[in-house]
């Protein structure tokens, strides 16, 4: 079993690098990255979509044009002044990243300068004519190893020598740092954490719900194969399969949300705003109240596949020789079905567990937008639109890891229901 995990883990390594490189490269090709967005913000002022009029606008602002110098600085900040390979290595955390750049200008003849590094601390930068820079603590004597400096191109209009000083750090996925989101301006892990909770909540509830509905349903359908009951329940689950869950959700929310027709469920949201203040029981009720419609929308599509899978697999087992034998021995139908065939029939279902959980956790942009829930689906879609590369990459890492977990889960589930299966 140990070797099994090791093998699984090792196989993940090439996948991980391949996937991250692939996505990393594709991201660079997309039109309009974070730089362009800063430019847009500057130029458009309060430009906002609306139907003729409306929208924001300022008193005086808008239409500013960025200078080349400013553009270079922004590039430096986002790391776009480095070649793509270096950027990837930085993201991995095996190449040092330059952060907190600050520029200084030495007038000709000046070789030493005291400069702020924030929160009241200062350093002293000394230069030589050979473009060599050294950095000292505020006392001017002890060398400072935290900060580095190098010369920049001089500007045309002045003779001042320009230099920049900065810190370096190794921070990337291998050091446990997924970087900082461009659009949320927060560490990626901080952005993902609350959304992960939401998605896991819906993922697990949806999973439990669909399995606890579909397995009995599939069994009863198999036992009554061909009956009107079988037909109508098939029609029902396929209806769920062919109408997009989010569209159904939107219609249900409109009808039952209390805005226009019946006031039965809250109008979207993950929980009430005062959830923290509720007693435990109130919390559960409130959470459930909010979750009903989204859960339906999230998991309705999986009902059909699961039910049919369960039904078919049970039917198949019922036609096996061992069932024939069991019947021949005079064992009652109940006993045959529940004791002998069922266990074998859930094998394919069990092998889907990992996959099902993963799908549900990855979330659905549509459902989350319809219900105003902050989950993974909305986050990852918005990250695409915003070109929020750290989030896209962070999400990718989560997906790759989830897939690993999902596979392991499937295998474990399989091993539990099928004693013949052993880990290789």
């Amino acid at each position: 079993m140990g070797t099994y995990f090791i093998r699984r883990g090792l196989l993940m390594i090439p996948t991980f690098f391949g996937a991250t490189i692939l996505v990393f490269v594709i991201l660079q090709l997309a039109p309009g990255g974070p730089l362009e967005q800063v430019i847009r913000q500057m130029q458009a002022g309060g430009q906002e979509a609306g139907e003729a009029g409306g929208g924001g606008s300022g008193d005086v602002a808008g239409g500013d044009i960025m200078t080349k110098d400013q553009l270079d600085k922004l590039k430096r900040f986002y790391g776009f002044d480095k070649p793509i390979i270096v950027r990837y290595l930085m993201w991995l955390g095996v190449w040092s990243r330059e952060i907190e750049h600050r520029d200084v200008e030495f007038e000709p003849g000046v070789y030493e300068m005291r400069s702020s590094v924030g929160r009241g601390n200062y350093i002293v930068i000394k230069r030589t004519d050979q473009e060599k820079y050294s950095i000292f603590n505020d006392d001017g004597k002890t060398p400072n190893i935290e900060w580095h400096a190098h010369q920049l191109d001089t500007k045309e209009e002045s003779d001042n020598i320009r230099a920049t000083y900065y810190k370096t750090e190794f921070s990337g996925i291998l050091t446990g740092n997924l970087g900082k989101s461009y659009s949320y301006v927060q560490p990626v892990t901080d952005v993902m954490k609350p959304r992960f909770k939401v998605s896991v909540f819906f993922g697990i509830i949806g999973f439990l719900l669909s399995y606890s509905v579909c397995i009995p349903l599939g069994i009863s359908k198999a036992l009554r194969h061909g009956s009107p009951y079988d037909f109508f329940s098939s029609a029902l689950v396929f209806m769920g399969y062919s109408i997009p869950g989010w569209a159904l959700g939107a219609v249900l929310l409109m009808a039952l949300g209390g805005g226009s027709f019946w006031d039965i469920f809250p109008l979207g949201g993950f929980r009430s705003e005062n959830w923290d203040m509720l007693p435990l029981w109130g919390k559960i009720i409130d959470q459930a109240h909010h979750a009903v419609l989204p859960i339906i929308a999230y998991s309705i599509a999986s009902f059909a596949t699961l039910t049919v899978l369960m039904k078919n697999s049970l039917l198949e087992n019922l036609s096996q020789d061992y069932v024939r034998t069991a019947f021949a021995k005079g064992i009652s139908e109940k006993r045959v079905v529940w004791l002998h065939t069922l266990r074998n029939s859930v094998i394919p279902i069990a092998s889907m567990i990992g996959y099902a959980v993963m799908i549900l956790i990855a979330g659905s942009y549509f459902v989350e937008v319809v219900f105003n829930i902050d989950g993974f689906g909305k986050m990852s879609y918005q990250a695409v639109l915003d070109r929020d590369y750290p989030i896209v990459m962070g999400f990718l890492v989560v997906v790759v890891l989830l897939r690993l977990v999902a596979n392991i889960l499937s295998d474990l589930a399989l091993a539990m229901v099928d004693p013949r299966i052993r880990f290789r």
């Binding site: 594709i26 194969h225 029609a235 997009p244």
Partner: protein, 365 residues
Amino acid sequence: MEKQENRASAHVETKPKEQQISLSILKKRWLKFKTLKRGYYSFIILIVFYLVSFTFPFIFISSRALVVHYEGKNYFPTIAGFYPGEFFGEDVSGEANYRELKEKWKRAKSDNWVLLAPYEYGPLEDITTEGNKMFEKPSSKHWLGSDNTGRDVFSRLMLGFTISISFGIFITTVSYVIGVSLGAAMGYFGGKFDLIFQRFIEVWSTLPLLFVVIIISSIVTPNFFLLVAILASVSWMGMTYFMRAEFYREKTKDYVAAALSMGQSNRKIIFKHILPNSLVPIITYFPFSVISGISSLVGLDFLGFGLPPPTPSWGQMVSVGLQNITKWWMVLSPLGALFITLMLIVFIGEAIREAFDPKVFSRLR
């Protein structure tokens, strides 16, 4: 009822001798498929409707006339295409307005006449054509009402059907060709080849599809085949798993060993010997892949990364419908059409699955 038919077909299946080759197996399965009424009729309805739907713009749904009889000659605008209004003596700058033409000649009791298409509203004409209003309720004029720019919902739905099904079929075919051959090779050769391609598939499956669409559509205008290519490039992977498993199993069987010992080439063994025996997953999953193809186009259209406007697409219709959710006909029509189509395909898929199932349903009680 169905049970008895199953039994009947079971008898059919057990009778022919074993040496029958694969073709007749297919035939047998087809016979069995035919006995599964629900799936069979769904299949007939869908295929007929799909094929006929290609002729809709020419004989059924069009703002152009079928026949115009003008000064002794007959013209066929739905087939021949653009006729300027001036051509028929109409005072318009663009294409002839056949509905008006008809009225005009009728009023004037002239010898000229117009035979309009049975459904006289095209999928593209909107409020800019005189007489069309936005958000019209379903009526005998507009069977399913009109949308937010006054376009007829029914005609868009019908023409969207052709596009949707074609899209589903194309994408499934393309991805099956890739998926089957690669999956087969992986299963057959195994070893390092298999290991490497498994990793490749794992990597490729993380491809951010939306980014690819965004990048491509910033360069060119996406069209039907481009979208097929993009979506097929990610959807072939599912099939490889099935084929790989099939080939893994099949290649250990005696007939493969026999073929090998006879010095057959790998290609021949794969395509001639094993593939016909591994068709079950291909055919069983085909309808479901068509469904997912249709759904993914609907999703892309909904998000605004799909076919360019004014193409009548179901995704666009669903998104407009949900934006104007109080206009029930705009919500229910595309969702209903989607539902019926997918349902038919599901029924077909069900039946195929059953027909291809070698085991006869035989509950012993």
